[in-house]
Each structure stands twice: as structure tokens, then as C-alpha cells.
Amino acid sequence: MSKQKPTVMVVEDESLMLQAISKKLELNGISAISCSSGKQAVDYLNNISELPDAIWLDYQLKDMDGLEFMRQLKKNEKCAQIPVIVVSNSASEDKVHSMLALGAKQYLLKAGYRLDELIPIMKQFISENNTQA
């Protein structure tokens, strides 16, 4: 079943960033689900009927870090398949490796990308996911 409008869940605890990202996604025809904490995101995922096509994840969240989020995500079989793209401002070699090892599709540095560079990347993963589904 192909979706009318792709959905991306944005997990970001900085409200300004959340606002900018969501706005940009919407402007590009992508529906954005905003979550300002890891817990909120996990709860949502466990209860939602329609899962998002991709997850835009900030590594440094107030209540958990990216690793913990990935682990929680994996607990739910359905959610484990959703592509996770990490867009963060802290990116040490260790973090990148660990996240990719846990199944994240990509790890990008926020300050190094314009929004309109990030959108195509999201779109690419969404379409990949859809073709796989």
C-alpha cells in the first residue's frame, strides 16, 4: 500500500530545530511527526497504527541518547525496520560506529548540511523503504 504522503518522525529536543525541520519537511511534501523526547517517540511508535517511513533522530536527547533509543526501537519488531537517519551536532567516531552498527542508515552532522541538502537524503531513504516494504 503506497502512502499518499510520506511521513517522517522527527525526534529532536531543541524546539527551534524541531520547528525548522518540521517546517522544511512539510514544505517538501512530507508529513512530520514531532517528538521532543525519546520516550515520547517510543510511546508513539508503540501505539501508532501507521508507522512513519523514516525517523529523523538527534543523538543527544534529554532523556536518552541515540544508542538507548535504537535499543528501545529494536524491541518492537515492526518499528525495527524503519530507517533511522541520525542528524546530530555531536559525532565522535565511536558514536557514529555504534549507531551504524545498531542499524542507523546514516549519521550526519547538522552544522555541515543545509536543510535543502538533507531533504533529498530523507526522500531517498523513504523511497528505499517503500520499495522494500
Binding site: A20, S90, E93, A111, D116
Partner: protein, 521 residues
């Protein structure tokens, strides 16, 4: 023993010969005549007394003749006794006395001669013996002195060694070729919880086990002392030592073999507790990580909102509004670049950058960099030409680090060259090195700035007015990367004419270095 000997060594001749009053201790003449006169007096007195008593007795007795005879005999006896007494004295008595003591001179002389010769002989013997003994005493004294000196010296050396070992802040452990502990200083005791008396005789490897940062025990063959003993070279390392009982310390170690006449006769391990330094380092790392995140968050927000603003995502802007928004965006980009550079520098300085060499295609690397730079150089209508040795092999370099070097040098070239200028890149092999040259015909570097341009935040006076962009950190970073990769960097420049930067990299490849971070992460 020594003290006893010194006491028994005779201090003077007096102790050698027994004390005898007569021949050696000759009193003074004055005293002699006094003595003789005294004796004379006694004898005369005695005689008088005897005769007197006899007379009285005779007077009062009948048997005159018998008693007279007795009296005479007594008187005679007295005289004989006196004579004998006088004879026994020295001849000086002969001189001062008259009367009974007038004995034949020859007798006196003979006695004298006998006495003299006997005395002379004795004197000679005594002086010989004295000489011999003095010599012997001297010898013994000097021998003893030397022995004592030598012993003292040895004691001092030992004390010095002991004091040195005790006061050294580092743990010092000396072992035999098998690793059996021979010396274990105080610092080692404190750091490992073993006392020297317990540790000496035990084997180093089992007594103080070592772990790596991941917590795995280091096997004996990987311990630096083992390597030092077998390879015969100094080995440096950092490891975690397990104390006796519980507890551990992070130690920086040097193990060196002790070589005598080409043979390894033991090893010495010196280690220093760096647990505190490690803790500080870890705190610095955390701080840098936190700082990078905290600094970049607002910068990213500005970046993206400006982007949307300029894009018209919040409504179309008039040209002036767009221009202002663009200004904000440009300044923001400089801030982001500055934060990145500062973080890279603090990482390089704390030695935490990973050098991860891979066989790299230089041609491909430089092409990618040029593509990036072209955005700026095209805007300034500058020409970039690239010439790479065609037969360059895949070079073992860290592509991310070296890419950073090229990006910085080329950005500088473009920035500090006026519009329409020319930039060239030449990369070639020379002996066992890879030489890269980045040249431009731009503003050049003034001579007075030659020794400053690699300094942090330094920007040449001549370009500061022309080009506001640039944080003065690029060349510092480039130099740090090149030098930690085992290469060199140098330049030639003429003001108003242009600049050429050169750097070399060993073709044998960079030394892989395990750090913790990559650039700009």
C-alpha cells in the same frame, strides 16, 4: 675487631719495655747529691746512735771487754753496710762523697763502662725496635685507613643509591633476565601494595599483572619487560597495573634491558602513576564533546532558519531583506567554521586525533577537493590547474586528514589571490616521499610574517584588510596534521607576486595512530 686492634697497637715506646726505674729513668744530678747526703746523714746518725747506746751499756756493765768487742763488730758491720750501699748507687755518689765512699776509681770506671755500654746497646736496640714498630704502626694505620675509607665510600654509595631510589617518584623495578625481581623501590611499593621484602624474589609478571583499557589482561609475551628482555630494546607503554589485593592504577611505563658486554643481564622497569592525568584527559574529552554540541546547536538553528528565510519558505523577501538575511547566514558560517577548527586543534593538541592510513588514490582525492574549492574560485574567476604524477601508486595516508590539508591550502590560495588569479597544484614522487605543491599568484606573505604564519589565529597584515574571511587557524592545523603524519611543510613567497606551499609525506605511509576522534566530529 678494628677498634681492638687500634687499642693494642702501642702508642709509645714506654709501653714496649717494662717500666724500670734504674737505668732509663736517670734522675738529675742535684737530686742525686741530695739523696746521697741524706743517706750519709742516716748512716752517721745510726752509727752515732749505736756507739752511744753501746757506750751507755758499757758504762753500766761489768763485762767491758766483751761488750766493747761487740761494739766494735757492730761498728764494722755498719761501715761495711754503708760501703755496699754507696757502691750500689751511681758513680755520681762517688764524686760527691768523701770518706768511706772513696772506692777505687777503676772499680767505678768499670762499673761506669759496663753501665754505658749496656745502656748504649739497649738504646740501640730500643731505637731499632722503635723504628720498626713505628713503621709497622704506620703501615697498619694506613692500611686500616684505606680499608676504612673504602668501606666508608661503599657505605656512602650504598646510602646514596638507597636515598635516590627511595626519593624517586617513579616506581623502579630491576629484574634478572627471567624477570625475577631484584630491586623494588619505595615508589613501587606504594603504587602496587607490595613491600620490597615481599616482592624481591618473585617474578614481576605474576606479581603485578597488567590490563589494557578494555579490561583484558595483557599476556606475558606482550608485557613491555618481556619485550625489553627478549628484543633488547627500550619499550614504552601505558597500561593498567593491578595492585595487590584490590585497586589499580594507570601507569606510563618504560622497560629497558640492562646490557653488559652484549648480553642482556636483566631489565629495569620504570613506571609512573598517570591515573590523575588520565582522569583530567577524560574530563577534557567530555568537555570538548559537550562544548562542541552546545556551541553547534544554536549555530545550526541560525543556519537553517536563515536558509528558509532566504529561500522564501516564510514568505518572499525583498532584496534588502534577503541581503541582510544572507549576511547573517555568512557570519554564521564563519562561526561554524571557527568552532570546527578550534575543536580540531584542541584534539590534535591533546593527541586524540586518529590517524587512520588507507591505500589512497591521490588523484581522486585531489579531484574531489578541487570540486569543492571550485565553487569559491569560480566565483572569483580564478583558474585552477592540477598536475599529478601519472605513475603514483596508492599511497598509505589518512584520506580525511590529508584532504583537510589540501582544502585549507587551496582555500587560502583562492582567498588570498585577487579575481582572475591562477592556482596550481603539483603532486609528484621524490625518492621515498610524496611532494605536494600548491601555488598562487596572489598577495604573498611579507617577510616579517614568515615565522608567524603557522601560529594560531595569525593572519598576515597585508591580507587582513583585504579579506575579512579566515580565522587564522588553517595553517596551524595543516602543520599539525603534516607533522604528526611524519612529513614536513615549507613555503616560498614574494609580496604582491605569489606564494607556493610545499609539503612532504613519507611514501612508506603514515603511522597508524590510535586516537579517539576524527576531524570535525
Amino acid at each position: 675487631m678494628d677498634s681492638q686492634n687500634s687499642q693494642s697497637v702501642p702508642q709509645s715506646i714506654d709501653q714496649i719495655l717494662p717500666q724500670s726505674n734504674s737505668y732509663v729513668n736517670s734522675p738529675s744530678p742535684g737530686k742525686i747529691s741530695m739523696k746521697i747526703k741524706y743517706k750519709q746523714l742516716i748512716i752517721v746518725g745510726f752509727s752515732v746512735l749505736t756507739v752511744g747506746l753501746l757506750s751507755i751499756f758499757l758504762y753500766f756493765s761489768e763485762k767491758t771487754v766483751a761488750y766493747l768487742l761487740v761494739g766494735l763488730i757492730v761498728a764494722l758491720v755498719l761501715v761495711v753496710v754503708e760501703t755496699i750501699l754507696l757502691l750500689l748507687n751511681s758513680k755520681v755518689g762517688v764524686q760527691t762523697r768523701d770518706g768511706i765512699s772513696q772506692l777505687p776509681k777503676s772499680f767505678d770506671e768499670a762499673t761506669e763502662k759496663l753501665k754505658a755500654s749496656y745502656f748504649e746497646d739497649l738504646e740501640k736496640k730500643v731505637s731499632e725496635k722503635t723504628k720498626a714498630l713505628t713503621q709497622r704502626i704506620e703501615e697498619l694505620n694506613s692500611e686500616q685507613h684505606i680499608n676504612k675509607e673504602a668501606e666508608e665510600k661503599a657505605l656512602i654509595e650504598e646510602a646514596k643509591e638507597e636515598a635516590t631510589l627511595t626519593s624517586i617518584g617513579e616506581g623502579v623495578v630491576v629484574t634478572d633476565p627471567q624477570g625475577k625481581i631484584l630491586v623494588f623501590n619505595q615508589a613501587a611499593e606504594l603504587m602496587t601494595n607490595w613491600t620490597a621484602s615481599e616482592a624481591v624474589g618473585r617474578f614481576w609478571f605474576e606479581t603485578v599483572p597488567a590490563m589494557d583499557e578494555k579490561g583484558y589482561l595483557i599476556p606475558r609475551i606482550d608485557r613491555d619487560m618481556y619485550k625489553a628482555l627478549t628484543i633488547g630494546k627500550k619499550v614504552f607503554s601505558e597500561s593498567i597495573y593491578l595492585k595487590r589485593g584490590s585497586g589499580k592504577i594507570t601507569a606510563a611505563n618504560t622497560a629497558a634491558p640492562i646490557i653488559l658486554k652484549g648480553q642482556v643481564i636483566g631489565a629495569v622497569q620504570v613506571f609512573r602513576d598517570i591515573s590523575h592525568e588520565k582522569e583530567i584527559d577524560r574530563m577534557k574529552t567530555e568537555f570538548i564533546s559537550l562544548a562542541s554540541h552546545q556551541l553547534r546547536t544554536p549555530l545550526s538553528a541560525i543556519k537553517w532558519f536563515c536558509e528558509m528565510l532566504i529561500n522564501g519558505d516564510a514568505g518572499e523577501l525583498n532584496p534588502e531583506q534577503k541581503e541582510y538575511a544572507q549576511n547573517v547566514s555568512d557570519s554564521n558560517e564563519r562561526m561554524i567554521s571557527l568552532v570546527n577548527s578550534l575543536l580540531n586543534i584542541s584534539r590534535i593538541e591533546s593527541g586524540r586525533i586518529i590517524i587512520d592510513p588507507k591505500p589512497t588514490n591521490i588523484n581522486k582525492l585531489i579531484s574531489e577537493v578541487i570540486n569543492e574549492i571550485k565553487v569559491k574560485s569560480d566565483a572569483k574567476k580564478q583558474q585552477i590547474s592540477v598536475s599529478v604524477d601519472s605513475d603514483l601508486p596508492l599511497v598509505n595516508i589518512d584520506p580525511q586528514l590529508i584532504r583537510e590539508v589540501y582544502v585549507n591550502l587551496l582555500t587560502n590560495s583562492s582567498r588570498y589571490t585577487p579575481d582572475g588569479g591562477e592556482i596550481s597544484v603539483v603532486i609528484y614522487k621524490k625518492d621515498d616521499e610524496l611532494i605536494s605543491q600548491v601555488s598562487d599568484n596572489g598577495y604573498g606573505i611579507p617577510k616579517k610574517d614568515y615565522d608567524k604564519i603557522f601560529q594560531k589565529f595569525y593572519r598576515g597584515d597585508n591580507i587582513i584588510k583585504i579579506e575579512s574571511d579566515g580565522n587564522g587557524l588553517g595553517l596551524y592545523l595543516v602543520k599539525a596534521i603534516i607533522e604528526s603524519s611524519g612529513g614536513k611543510i615549507w613555503f616560498e613567497s614574494t609580496e604582491e607576486k605569489g606564494t607556493s606551499f610545499y609539503f612532504s609525506l613519507p611514501l612508506s605511509g603514515m603511522q597508524a595512530k590510535k586516537g579517539e576522534v576524527t576531524l570535525s566530529s
